[in-house]
C-alpha cells in the first residue's frame, strides 16, 4: 500500500499501483499512471482503449476478455502492447481504474 500524488492530492494505491477506491479515478490520474507505465504521451488510441474498458466494466461488472477487447477496439494484441507496454491487464486496466486482475496470473 502507498499513496500517489495527483495534482497535489494523495490517492491510495495497492502494492501493484492499482487504485483501491474506484471512485477516485480521474483523467488526471491516468496522466500520472501513464508516466509510470512508460507511456510518453496519451493519444486518442490510448483513450479509445481506456474508455472501452471503463464502459465494458460499467455494463458487465468484469474486465473484457483480451479477444473481446481486440475485436471491439480494432487493435491487435501487438498494438495494445505498443500502446501499453506492460500489457492489457497490468497496463490498460490499471489506467482505466479497473480492479486488479486476479487468479493465477
Amino acid at each position: 500500500m502507498g499513496d500517489i500524488l495527483v495534482k497535489g492530492v494523495a490517492i491510495e494505491v495497492d502494492e501493484d499501483g492499482f487504485i483501491v477506491d474506484p471512485a477516485v479515478w480521474s483523467t488526471d490520474l491516468v496522466e500520472v499512471f501513464a508516466k509510470d507505465e512508460g507511456i510518453e504521451a496519451l493519444t486518442e488510441q490510448h483513450w479509445k482503449v481506456i474508455n472501452y474498458l471503463r464502459d465494458y466494466f460499467k455494463q458487465y461488472g468484469i474486465a473484457p476478455m483480451i479477444r473481446k477487447l481486440c475485436k471491439d477496439t480494432g487493435f491487435s494484441l501487438k498494438e495494445i502492447y505498443e500502446l501499453f507496454p506492460s500489457g492489457p491487464a497490468k497496463g490498460a486496466c490499471k489506467l482505466a481504474g479497473l480492479p486488479k486482475p486476479t487468479g493465477c496470473v
Binding site: V20, A23, I62, K100, T102, G103
Partner: protein, 353 residues
C-alpha cells in the same frame, strides 16, 4: 528497449559432448546401483548419471556448490529431473567412484532411480502462495526424512511409488495423478468482506468461480453472499476475489489420496482417490501426515506384487480390502457427490464382505 521474446537457451548447447554425439542412438540402460544409471550407446560410448535428492527450494549457494561438483567430475555438466532431483552426468568412468565418494562425504543423498520412492513433487506452501492451506516444503522434508531408506534403495519397494504435495485443491503439480498425494483442504466456509469487495472484485467472475453455485449477488450490499449449505470450501472464490477470506488455522489441514499414475505401462493412467479425508496441520513435523504416508507405503509394499503400482494393487484387491488392510475408516466423505458421481458408485453385486 530490452531484448525480449528470445526463448530459452538451446538445450543442444548445454548437454555434454557424449550426449551430443550419441543423441538418438542409445541402445540400453542399466541401474548398476540405486541412484546411478548407465546408458550405453550404439557407438559403444557410456554415460553414467548419478542422481541426488534436492529440496527443490534451494539457495544460489546450493546451485554453486553442485556446480562446483559438476566442474570437478563432469566437465561442468549437470541436469535437473522432472521430479527436481539433480543428476551429475559422468562420461569418464574413472571419475564415477570419486564423485560418489565426494557426494556421500558432503551429505548429498544418492538414489531415486528404478523401483524406489523418488523426490516429492510439491508446491509453494507458506513460503510464497496466498492460497496455501498447508505448507509444502515442511511436509516434504518430514515425509522424506521418514522415507529416505526408500529413496536410497536401502528398503526395496515392489514398484515405483510417486508422492506429491499440493498446498490447496488447485493442485499445482501432480497430486491428482500420484500414488500418494497430500493435498491441503479447508473445512470452514469463506467469509465475505462486503466493504472491501466493492471495487476490488469482479462480481460475475466471483459467482462463476464457484463449482457448486453457492455464491449469489447481494443487491443490498452490492456484494455477494455464500450459501454455506452448498459450499464445500474449495476456496476458488477467494482466488478471484481478495475480499473473500477462508483461512482458518484451527480447521485447515490436509487430505491424503492414493492410486494415481500417469504412465501407460500395464494399465491406463489413473486419478488418485481419497483415502484420508482430514489430518491436522501440525507443524513443524506433521507427525499424523508422515505416519499415515509411511503406513500406506508399508501396507502396499507388503501386499503388492512385483511391479504393481499403488493404484493397480488397489484395483486388484478392491477398495473394501484396501480399507481393511490399511485399517483406515471408510466414511461418508469418501463417497463422491459431485456432478457425475454415479459413475463412481458400484453397479454390480460383486464385492467382498
Amino acid at each position: 528497449m530490452a531484448r525480449n521474446d528470445f526463448g530459452p537457451p538451446d538445450y543442444r548447447e548445454l548437454i555434454p559432448p557424449v550426449i551430443q554425439k550419441n543423441y538418438g542412438q542409445w541402445k540400453y540402460h542399466t541401474i548398476p546401483r540405486p541412484g546411478v544409471l548407465k546408458h550405453v550407446s550404439d557407438t559403444g560410448d557410456v554415460l553414467y548419471s548419478v542422481r541426488i535428492a534436492s529440496p527443490r527450494l534451494v539457495s544460489s549457494e546450493y546451485i554453486r556448490s553442485i556446480s562446483d561438483i559438476a566442474d570437478t567430475y563432469c566437465d561442468g555438466y549437470l541436469r535437473f529431473t522432472t521430479r527436481n532431483n539433480a543428476e551429475f552426468l559422468v562420461s569418464d568412468e574413472s571419475k564415477l567412484e570419486p564423485l560418489i565418494k565426494d557426494l556421500v562425504a558432503k551429505g548429498y543423498m544418492i538414489g531415486g532411480g528404478g523401483h524406489s520412492i523418488s523426490n516429492v513433487v510439491h508446491t509453494q506452501g507458506w513460503i510464497h502462495c496466498k492460497s496455501a492451506v498447508t505448507d509444502a516444503s515442511g511436509i516434504v522434508k518430514d515425509v522424506m526424512d521418514e522415507l529416505h531408506p526408500y529413496f536410497t534403495g536401502e528398503i526395496k519397494v515392489p514398484a515405483r511409488l510417486r508422492i506429491a504435495v499440493a498446498c490447496c485443491v488447485n493442485m499445482c503439480g501432480a497430486c491428482h495423478c500420484s500414488d500418494i498425494s497430500i493435498v491441503g483442504i479447508h473445512r470452514t466456509p469463506p467469509r465475505v468482506n462486503d466493504e472491501l469487495l466493492v471495487g476490488r472484485c469482479e462480481i460475475p467472475t466471483t459467482i462463476a468461480a464457484c463449482p457448486t453455485g453457492a455464491i449469489r449477488p447481494n443487491p443490498k450490499t452490492k456484494s455477494v453472499e455464500i450459501n454455506h449449505e452448498k459450499c464445500m470450501m474449495c476456496a476458488n472464490c477467494t482466488v478471484v476475489c481478495p475480499a473473500i477470506k477462508i483461512m482458518d488455522p484451527v480447521n485447515d489441514g490436509v487430505s491424503i489420496w492414493v492410486g494415481g499414475k500417469v504412465s501407460n505401462a500395464r494399465t491406463a493412467p489413473k486419478f488418485s482417490r481419497l483415502a484420508i479425508p482430514y489430518l491436522p496441520n501440525n507443524p513443524p513435523r506433521w507427525p499424523e501426515v508422515t505416519n499415515a504416508v509411511k503406513h500406506l507405503v508399508e501396507v502396499w509394499a507388503a501386499s503388492a506384487r512385483e511391479g504393481e503400482r499403488m493404484g493397480e494393487w488397489i484395483d486388484r484387491i478392491g477398495w473394501e480390502r484396501f480399507f481393511e488392510k490399511t485399517g483406515l475408516p471408510f466414511t461418508d466423505k469418501h463417497i463422491d457427490d459431485f456432478t457425475h458421481a454415479t459413475t463412481t458408485f458400484r453397479s454390480t453385486t460383486q464385492f467382498r464382505f
